[in-house]
């Protein structure tokens, strides 16, 4: 951490010395800017920002009291870490012009150089600076999702290093392939409206691979460890849902050129609603105990599933996508996880992996050219045959492969240098006290 900090400092100094490197241009092509679009995207960016603290609460409420601060910090700290990574080079890797034969973006935006008030090809009616900030918020929350799998045992400094590696070697290339100029997955016709594969599948599978590498929590015996604060979970879920409006509707990148923002807004809310009801119904059928945790989880998996499809499907399809995602994830978590015996602490894979894969495939089932002209082949259920489904499958497989392999490799490599897990004793004490030297709540009234 110390060394990383020094490295950061020197980069900053370097930039200060090379004049102009990071100076954001203000002389924007003002004529092209649409203030309504810009206001909209400013809001969308703020909303997606809020998702990461929302996730911190969602996850924080779910762990045991002794690990809540570590869990929240794992999400919260990424706002710091990924912001700096993105500004220095991440944005350029993801959205720079194709380099290395399309594997990654070029270096023209290093240090946000030239990223200012003028619009760019990605979004012609808003400042590029705003587009870059919007995309930053996606880059922040993606690795934060992974933490749900391995919290309550992972070493914090190792986590920081892992997050930096992962966002650079998985997120940035994936974003480039799917959304970057000339990205090969996009060219191939893969549909991912707001990040079903880039965000959810990639993080979900990274979580799964990570827990396979690092192993179970010491006291995990296939029965869940109950949340220590369920109201936090609902508040977190609500913040995520609220933020997801920015995530999905904002992915239209404006209001002036299409009505996709509104379509995505509707399908997003409808899918989340359907999945919430569907999850509660499954719980009811199962043991007559519909839960607040269930309603919150249902909403989240509904949001995950609609993410890639939001701007490509009809309202009815969105209902169907939501209704189906809940039982799928429920089954994955309550049956598959137990059967296979891995310890995905907060179901990062169970919610984002399974929900994300379903969403990506559902896009191939339900996508509709009448909704969005970017859809070249109707989905299977709309009579378009298997083509789009195949492309979607490919993009899922590519994502699973890239994220799975890099996650595995990175952790195995780090494990050669240093331990991935805290000591057994620290795990028992709880990471809050042992790693961070702070206790979430004061118990004794004297304190």
């Amino acid at each position: 951490m110390k060394r990383k900090f020094l490295a950061l400092c020197s980069l900053v100094v370097a930039e200060l010395l090379i004049p102009g490197l990071a100076s954001a241009s203000t002389a924007g092509d003002a004529a092209a800017i649409n203030t309504g679009d810009t206001a909209f995207m400013f809001v969308a960016t703020g909303l997606v920002f809020l998702m990461t603290p929302g996730l911190a609460l969602f996850y924080g409420g779910m762990v045991r009291k002794k690990n809540v601060l570590n869990t929240m910090l794992c999400s919260f700290v990424l706002i710091g870490l990924v912001t700096i990574q993105w500004v220095l080079f991440g944005y350029s890797l993801a959205f720079g012009a194709d380099a290395f034969g399309g594997l990654i973006g070029g270096l023209e935006y290093l240090g946000f150089s030239g990223v200012g008030g003028a619009p760019c090809a990605y979004a012609a009616t808003i400042p590029q600076g705003l587009f870059a900030m919007y995309q930053l918020m996606f880059a922040i929350i993606t690795p934060a999702i992974i933490t749900g799998a391995f919290v309550e045992r992972f070493r914090f400094p190792v986590y920081m290093a892992f997050a930096l590696i992962w966002t650079t070697l998985v997120y940035d290339p994936l974003a480039h392939w799917v959304w970057g100029a000339g990205g090969w997955l996009m060219e191939m016709g893969a549909l991912d409206f707001a990040g079903g594969t880039v965000v959810h599948v990639s993080s979900g599978v990274a979580g799964l691979v990570a827990v396979l590498v690092i192993g179970k929590r010491k006291d995990y015996k296939l029965i869940p460890m109950f949340p220590h604060n369920t109201p936090f979970i609902m508040l977190g879920a609500a913040m995520l849902w609220f933020g997801w409006f920015g995530f999905n509707a904002g992915s239209a990148l404006g209001l002036s050129t299409s009505s996709l923002a509104v379509i995505a807004f509707i399908t997003t809310n409808v899918s989340a609603a359907a999945a919430m009801l569907s999850w509660l119904a499954v719980e009811w059928i199962h043991n007559k105990k519909p839960t607040l945790l269930g309603a919150s989880t249902g909403a989240i998996v509904g949001l995950v599933a609609i993410t890639p499809a939001a701007g490509f499907v009809s309202v009815a399809s969105a209902i169907a996508i939501g209704l189906i995602t809940a039982p799928l994830c429920y089954f994955g978590i309550s049956f598959l996880k137990v059967r296979l015996g891995y310890d995905d602490s907060l179901d990062a894979f169970g919610c984002h992996g399974i929900g994300g894969i379903w969403g990506a495939m559902a896009t191939g089932l339900f996508c509709d050219p009448a909704i969005n002209s970017a859809v070249k082949h109707s989905g299977l259920f709309l009579g378009g045959g298997l083509h789009q489904l195949g492309v979607q499958l490919l993009s899922v497989v590519v994502t699973l492969a890239l994220s799975g392999v890099v996650t595995f490799g990175a952790l195995k490599l780090i494990a050669r240098v240093t331990a991935l897990r805290v000591s057994a004793n620290d795990e028992i004490m709880g990471l809050d006290i042992s790693v961070h030297g702070e206790d979430a709540y004061r118990d004794l009234v004297t304190e």
Binding site: P224, F226, V282, E283, H286, N287, K289, L293, F331
Partner: protein, 113 residues
């Protein structure tokens, strides 16, 4: 001097206090505990996994009294806490060898009330 320790249902705690006041026992110390015994627990469910929970919330009274008040205390507690259903709780009477009132330094029987 005796220490009367009672573990009762949370919803009975108020009635117990009223019953104690009614027999002129005003001083007591109360805390939250979890208890298990014959009373059946309940089921918690978590994303499709169902777990039986056996430790139930109870309230614990600690009441130091002179010998002459022991029966009154016990009767009052029973009166306040009894529902005749499993889980009503227990009363334990332990000997106290000495007692001090911190404010005055008094000790013995005088200090208790």
């Amino acid at each position: 001097m005796k220490m009367v320790i009672a573990v009762v249902r949370p919803e009975a705690a108020d009635a117990v206090r009223q019953a104690l006041l009614a027999v002129d026992i005003h001083k007591m110390t109360v805390s939250n505990v979890k208890g298990c015994g014959e009373q059946p627990g309940y089921v918690e469910s978590h994303r499709g996994i169902v777990v039986e929970v056996n430790l139930l919330s109870k309230v614990r009274f600690e009441i130091a009294v002179n010998e002459s008040f022991v029966k009154k205390a016990v009767d009052a507690i029973i009166q306040g806490a009894r529902t005749n259903n499993i889980g009503d709780g227990k009363i334990f009477v332990l000997p106290i060898e000495q007692c001090y009132r911190i404010r005055t330094g008094e000790s013995g029987n005088d200090a208790i009330g």
